[in-house]
Symmetry: D2
Subunit: 285 residues, 4 copies
Amino acid sequence: MQNTAIIRIHCPDQPGIVSRVTNFISTHNGNILFLDQHTDRAEKRFFMRVEWDLDGFAIDANSIEEVFTRAIAEPMEMVWTLNFSSQIPRMAIFVSRASHCLYDLLARYSAGELNVEIPLIISNHKDLEIVAKQFDIPYYHLPLTKENKAETEAEQIRLCSEYKVDFIVLARYMQILSPEFNAQYPDRIINIHHSFLPAFAGAKPYHAAHSRGVKLIGATGHYVTSDLDAGPIIEQDVVKISHHDTVKSLVQKGKDVEKMVLSRAVQAHIERKTLVYKNKTIIFA
Amino acid sequence: MQNTAIIRIHCPDQPGIVSRVTNFISTHNGNILFLDQHTDRAEKRFFMRVEWDLDGFAIDANSIEEVFTRAIAEPMEMVWTLNFSSQIPRMAIFVSRASHCLYDLLARYSAGELNVEIPLIISNHKDLEIVAKQFDIPYYHLPLTKENKAETEAEQIRLCSEYKVDFIVLARYMQILSPEFNAQYPDRIINIHHSFLPAFAGAKPYHAAHSRGVKLIGATGHYVTSDLDAGPIIEQDVVKISHHDTVKSLVQKGKDVEKMVLSRAVQAHIERKTLVYKNKTIIFA
Amino acid sequence: MQNTAIIRIHCPDQPGIVSRVTNFISTHNGNILFLDQHTDRAEKRFFMRVEWDLDGFAIDANSIEEVFTRAIAEPMEMVWTLNFSSQIPRMAIFVSRASHCLYDLLARYSAGELNVEIPLIISNHKDLEIVAKQFDIPYYHLPLTKENKAETEAEQIRLCSEYKVDFIVLARYMQILSPEFNAQYPDRIINIHHSFLPAFAGAKPYHAAHSRGVKLIGATGHYVTSDLDAGPIIEQDVVKISHHDTVKSLVQKGKDVEKMVLSRAVQAHIERKTLVYKNKTIIFA
Amino acid sequence: MQNTAIIRIHCPDQPGIVSRVTNFISTHNGNILFLDQHTDRAEKRFFMRVEWDLDGFAIDANSIEEVFTRAIAEPMEMVWTLNFSSQIPRMAIFVSRASHCLYDLLARYSAGELNVEIPLIISNHKDLEIVAKQFDIPYYHLPLTKENKAETEAEQIRLCSEYKVDFIVLARYMQILSPEFNAQYPDRIINIHHSFLPAFAGAKPYHAAHSRGVKLIGATGHYVTSDLDAGPIIEQDVVKISHHDTVKSLVQKGKDVEKMVLSRAVQAHIERKTLVYKNKTIIFA
């Protein structure tokens, strides 16, 4: 497999950014594989993702950060990250009782479609231990009560640290993480909310959708912030419904859109195609 | 063209409803063309629409109401309406400045796709008078201010009455009708709201959508009630957007989904396929 | 769980069908739960599905067929089937190497979303035996060559018979069944084809789609007939693509639409909502 | 309104393309507004669209072509085009009898959404003259018979030449243009075909779709080549249908998807976002 470098950038909009970044790569014999950029004119902010082949690149991988910082990032006031395709991100999955999102992620994972490691699954229930066993992934059952929330989160964080977790996917984990927990993984916790946000934020969105009589329901994959269901949106989709639908059939139809939206959001994150700026996402091509 | 009778019913759920209604039609030599029914088990309520050919029907059209009431509707405690396909509904269109919904309705109308009469267009601006002229439809420019709202609405109602208007379409009419106005046309005013309600109710939904960073925008066709943007939803749809979209491009993309959603909602109303119950709609097949 | 009877009918269009069928149910104290009908005016053919609660029904379940035949089906020249919700259909899954459709079906099955038994999985490859093991379902590896096709199919049929299989799902089974095999299961073999048929029938549809430069790809769930990829269509869907897509990325994007379309088609079949007439399907609500 | 230059390029894939093109613009004080590129690895071909503000650009607009050719296009073996946003393209519309696509284009045009001039409409029928009059656009009725096809096409070409037409939109023009006609406007005739090509190419696609029993119908906007319905596809979309649909209702539902797809294809062409290569299109962002 090709070893590539991926740089994601945002900086004040100014002339010559693309030119300088692509020059940097070209003059060091890097072959650009993907390049996508975006200018937010209202914010006067420039965004860019560039991925290039490291084979034959004149700068040693370990020195890219330093060289690029000095040559380009600092003078252009860039906020930026550097990743290598050889670094496989490590993803923890948090679940409660519903299996559809977990199965969809694990089926993709076991088919080699997600370039990720899944070192552990954490749940506040025992129900899905059997799924974890099917895929031979360690499963930690950490029951949650109002009383033990702080300790349980401490244990969750300890496990994620022990397993060197890079990011966390809440695959229908029906619990609200504390601001302290979220602060450990800024822009690195992905949640699937079972409505097209901002409609029906909070609990029981399908009940609310049924009660309101909407003609479509949806799902939203987003980064978690301390503001409930208000974090940066990565992906959304909807499905048509009708007056025939009951809350039960909405829950059922919603499962399909939930799992597809979550898997697409996770895939974008794994491929380092997301960038968060001011509570919104740029999703690079 | 075939002359048909259309009955829309709702009543307490009970055995034998379909059987009695279809018997009534069959035994009087009526040939059923369309039948759709729905049972809301939570509400214990039954809904039905049946349309049959009046050619050869044994009961005179003028007597159907009386006979059906006595034979079926009263004993089964039905709330019901009777319409004839020969009654072409008369639709007033209210607009402000944006032309896309108006053009879409009028293009369908002039192609014979909407089985409706459009006796007049009312606007608080002069901008779209030229469109009305293109299609040779009387246009009333009634400027609106905070001060003259009551008089203007009185004049709007007088015009609708003079032109024997059956229902009103707010085709991007950027004004809020008073509860008194709405009360004149219960379940007979259709509005297009430029968001997937209940998200972004109220003013400037595209600004709000852009600010929230959603990945899709939508439109909602609904009956107007005195509760702003909270009336029974007839039709909704969405379109995907991205971080590239500005408020301006959202407005532009939104136009397409607005006009399609509104035209579909109007079509369903004209074909007598809608039924309102407890702030929700049944949309019959 | 409620025990219900389900009747699917087609017959020459004639007055009074709905009335007679619903009368039959009502007068024997049957409570109708679902009713959907369709008239094909060009074919002068009437189609209907009705489901009612057997609790308190005056006719014994074993006698319904006989009584309904005499009273209604024969006089109205109906082609019809009777099923009971208590009969759980038994579904064999045939696969080759791709796991996405198999996982999607098994994940739904294990979550209790498919009211079906899955007694066995048959494959011409060993690859997915591990998946079958995860879900504890017998897996038969029957390698296929040009030479052994007849014997292999005989063995497949023997296994399906031994396991009392009602219908077969080809979940990306990359082999063509012989007409003799198909004749054993008329309207009871569901295939997923990886294109929006009739476009790109036959082998390698994603290569063909890429070569043609289409802007969307799709999938089609259909009943298998002896005419390759030409059987009655149950369900279709598409996904947008762009010039960025390679054959490889089409294959990847296609997986999502394939698995959703197949699962929906299978669900419709299990719920006895499909009816085949003249190489087309009626999909009842 | 901003005056911008737009360059569309394709050339053999090679290192440093983006860098050299963006350098060229930056070093001459051009501010890049949009940049999108694509590499087709199988074809080893690079594609790019870049748009920049001419305000303050150091090279005179009239000299850009020469300078860019010498400095970049020739050495890199580019096939390329240069456009200026100040050049408003001139679009002829060809129609037959159906008005929906024409109205949709003209409604957008009169609302200022299409940055285009429409100097004339040509038809083989008189039906839509009234629409042309509504929008005050010259309408030429050129009846077509087998006998007069060559002369009529000559007259069509003469008119397009007289009115300085840049490209032609076949807005449900139900005639096949001769290869000679097509040769006059390579990649500059846009047709809307009423199916999701390559399914149902040729005449009467809705009849064919109904006969096949598909569950969705579509429309395809494509450039016209001498190969009927086989030219490069710009845009496609579909809409769900069911067994309830007749050929007539398919025609009706199809109109909505036809007009949307055509208008989007036309918009992409007007904005110079399309590029044809080997019978496929690149649609730049």
